[in-house]
């Protein structure tokens, strides 16, 4: 039992904190917000040089073999700076799906390119009718003479605009239309039949909805040897939620620090806001929830390789709890900043919106408490 950081981990955290503090300020965010790509390729190149894109990739595939703890350290720093680079989509989700599902040849072809910064990915999985059910996929993939034909619609594709390839989940159907296993398909950007509706994502970065109309893909576009991909998707999304939890902790800590500072400086009735007990107690509650969130994000990271039920309970527990804490912390940060808190003139709003986005991504608190209860055998899934 040891929850202290190793020397390497401490170095990683310090360099990430430094880089984020120097690079991702309010000016940068304003520029990024109007960028149709949603991120800076120059910064992405620096991420690669710092080794961050190689972090969780196996050494055999050009990576550093890091785990959920290292990802969490980076994500927490990213949260502090509201980084909108497609790290989650490409490295935490994309590379992990390839590592979990891909054949050795596919891994060799894709993972080193991610590590060196040459390839960005997005994961097109969610569908409107599925709500947050990872196993509900209506998009179909039909085997054709020389490959696959995909049809369907996807929503909330994170960083779709930035991605050079999109991993699309689809239900593999046979000739008479009966549905079978869940498959993952690599579709290069610009493949005919894919229409995207790109948008600026709540809280920073880009997202898109996409329609697939008779999209033709080659036979080797499917990741893996034909196994059902749901178990792998669950592993990867559980780990992504742990990573997002760490990011949320970075955001919440920043909101707490900023709000503390503001309540000390802002004077009303001749004394600082922080002299009032009602304000002090509120801030104590905010601090407590930030700390609880920190514990839950760490727990989810430590359980990232546990057996599926324990891993899922930890991930859903963390997502639910951190989501609840995030909403509280964000709402109190705005409240305690008074009218200024609801303007675009302060950074508070940007952090607030990123936490709101966090809570809904991959399912909100209510969904994940329910999944936790289901995995615990308390309610029907």
């Amino acid at each position: 039992m040891d929850l202290t950081l190793s020397d390497e981990q401490r170095l990683l955290r310090d360099s990430a904190d430094r880089f984020v503090a120097e690079t991702f300020n309010a000016d940068h965010r304003k520029k990024a917000a109007s960028d149709p790509l949603g991120y800076s390729p120059a910064i992405w190149k620096q991420f690669a040089e710092l080794g961050w894109l190689a972090l969780p990739i196996a050494e055999a595939h050009g990576g550093l073999g890091g785990g959920a703890i290292e990802i969490g350290l980076l994500m927490e720093a990213f949260g502090r700076g509201l980084v909108s680079e497609p790290f989650l989509s490409t490295v935490v989700i994309g590379a992990a799906l390839v590592a979990e599902c891909g054949t050795e040849a596919q891994q060799q072809a894709i993972l080193p390119r991610i590590a060196e910064g040459a390839l960005t990915l997005a994961f097109a999985h969610s569908e409107r009718a599925a709500r947050f059910d990872l196993g509900h996929v209506d998009t179909t993939a039909t085997k054709t003479a020389d490959g696959w034909r995909l049809n369907g619609s996807k929503i909330a594709v994170l960083d779709g605009a930035a991605a050079r390839q999109i991993i699309v989940s689809a239900r593999v159907t046979n000739a008479n239309g009966a549905s079978g296993k869940l498959g993952l398909f690599l579709a290069p950007k610009g493949t005919p039949g894919i229409t995207t509706r790109d948008y600026a994502r709540l809280g920073g970065g880009r997202g898109c909805n996409l329609d697939l109309k008779d999209v033709q893909l080659p036979a080797d576009a499917r990741l893996g040897d034909g196994q059902d991909a749901l178990a792998a998707i669950e592993i990867v999304i559980d780990r992504a939620m742990a990573a997002l939890g760490a990011e949320a902790v970075g955001i919440m800590q920043t909101l707490l620090d900023t709000t503390l500072e503001y309540t000390k400086i802002r004077k009303q009735f001749g004394r600082p806001l922080s002299a009032n007990q009602v304000i002090r107690h509120r801030l104590a509650d905010v601090a407590m929830q930030v700390d609880e969130a920190r514990s839950m994000a760490l727990r989810a990271a430590l359980m990232a390789n546990a057996e599926p039920v324990a891993r899922g309970r930890a991930a859903s527990g963390a997502k639910a709890k951190i989501g609840k804490c995030a909403r509280f912390v964000a709402e109190q940060a705005v409240q305690l900043h008074g009218a200024m808190g609801v303007t675009e003139e302060l950074d508070i709003g940007a952090y607030f919106k990123r936490l709101l986005a966090f809570d809904t991504l991959f399912g909100g608190s209510a969904h994940h408490y329910r999944r936790h209860a289901a995995l615990s055998g308390r309610v029907q899934a």
Partner: protein, 398 residues
């Protein structure tokens, strides 16, 4: 970073488990499960203290020269977790965990030689004389006065909320020996024999129907000056040191997990008409369990810092606040789980030695009293409001 214990620690865990299996009698276990107050009655609690002492485990937190087992923080964690899992009696903490560390830290060698062995063996049973009718959260405004007369102090005043004063043969108390500039000055820490003439005890029933706390009156009570711990007038420092122990140096998550498991088992059984089939109840159980997970991680983060010799920081107020809120959430859930059987009030005590057949199944008896008594969790040891004051000041620097 990892959550796993080493092979030696696993072996230790097994040793603890084996010893508990060997020495925890079914009577002790049943009595503990059926006790809705904070601490077990002394016959049950002290029986367990003696069993621990026999093994050399009577005071896990004490230094080895005073009879502590010289455990690492991880071993203490494992010990507490195993005790919680097994449902061992809740030994009154006033001796081993409260006055013991103060005597070790500030007592004279004579005091240490006399009192510490008697705490370990369970020969002495302690109560805490801190709160007074006019001094609750504002403890340092206390007025019970000790006036020097030769080799004695003469004590007059009253203490309240004194847990198990009706069982205790000794009390450690904060008394005013002089009036200083600040109200924290002039307080002394004193050890009192409860059989001294002039002491009377009045029972106070809590809303759960239990007699656990009392009011104690002092009427010209003569206590030797030699019974003062440390310097005259420095009692506030010693008392605060002890409150830090009360506020969360302990390990609470394991016990909370067991309490939730008890409620979950009731909810899954016919005795509550399978309350768990109500999805609202089931999901609230997950909410509480996740809160316990977060608390456990915070406790482990503190433990890990202690293991590597780091200062965990001012988290004890944070932990105290969460522990008390989660305890209340568990008891609230309990009341909702047992439904209309919660209407049946059983006034007799103890529940494990009733002379009649209760109106409801035995295992349901403590549920409502636990909820009612549990309202005190956010009040004693510094109310939640005081804890928030402390967090604002000590953690946030406001």
């Amino acid at each position: 970073m990892d959550l796993t214990f080493s092979a030696e620690e696993r072996a230790f865990e097994q040793e603890v488990r084996d010893y508990i299996t060997e020495s925890l009698t079914p009577e002790m276990k049943r009595a503990t499960a059926l006790t809705p107050s904070v601490f077990s009655d002394p016959d049950i609690g002290m029986a367990w203290q003696r069993a621990l002492h026999k093994k050399g485990w009577g005071a896990p937190g004490w230094p080895v020269e005073h009879g502590g087992p010289d455990w690492t923080p991880a071993q203490r964690w494992i010990f507490e977790a195993e005790c919680a899992r097994a449902g061992v009696p809740n030994v009154n903490v006033m001796g081993v965990k409260m006055v013991g560390p103060v005597i070790i830290g500030f007592g004279s060698p004579e005091q240490q030689n006399f009192y510490l062995p008697r705490i370990l063996s369970g020969e002495d049973y302690w109560c805490q004389g801190y709160s007074e009718p006019g001094s609750g959260s504002d403890l340092s405004s206390l007025k019970t006065r000790a006036v020097r007369d030769g080799d004695d102090y003469v004590i007059n005043g009253t203490k309240i909320w004194t847990t198990h004063a009706h069982h205790a043969n000794r009390m450690f108390a904060l008394v005013r020996t002089s009036d200083g500039e600040r109200q924290q000055d002039g307080i002394s820490f004193i050890l009192i024999d409860m059989k001294t003439p002039g002491i009377t005890t009045r029972p106070i029933l809590t809303i759960g129907g239990d007699h656990e706390v009392n009011q104690v009156f002092f009427d010209d009570v003569r206590v030797p000056v030699a019974n003062r711990v440390g310097e005259e007038g420095k009692g506030w420092t010693y008392g605060k040191y002890l409150l830090e122990f009360e506020r969360g140096s302990g390990i609470a998550s394991a016990k909370l997990r067991e309490a939730l498991k008890t409620i979950t088992d009731l909810a899954g059984s016919e005795v509550t008409g399978r309350a768990i089939e109500d999805p609202d109840i089931a999901i609230r159980m997950s909410e509480v369990e996740v809160d316990i997970d977060a608390l456990e991680m915070t406790e482990l983060r503190v433990l890990s810092a202690l293991q590597t010799g780091q200062n965990p920081g001012a988290v004890s107020s944070l932990i105290k606040l969460r522990v008390s809120e989660i305890r209340q959430a568990v008891t609230r859930l309990g009341v909702d789980v047992i439904g209309q059987d919660g209407l049946a009030v059983e006034p007799a005590r103890p529940f494990y030695r009733l002379n009649h057949e209760p109106a409801i199944p035995e295992e349901l008896l403590p549920v409502v009293p636990e909820y009612l008594n549990g309202r005190a969790y956010t009040i004693f040891g510094g109310s939640s409001e005081i804890q928030r004051d402390i967090i604002a000041k000590m953690v946030l620097g406001l």
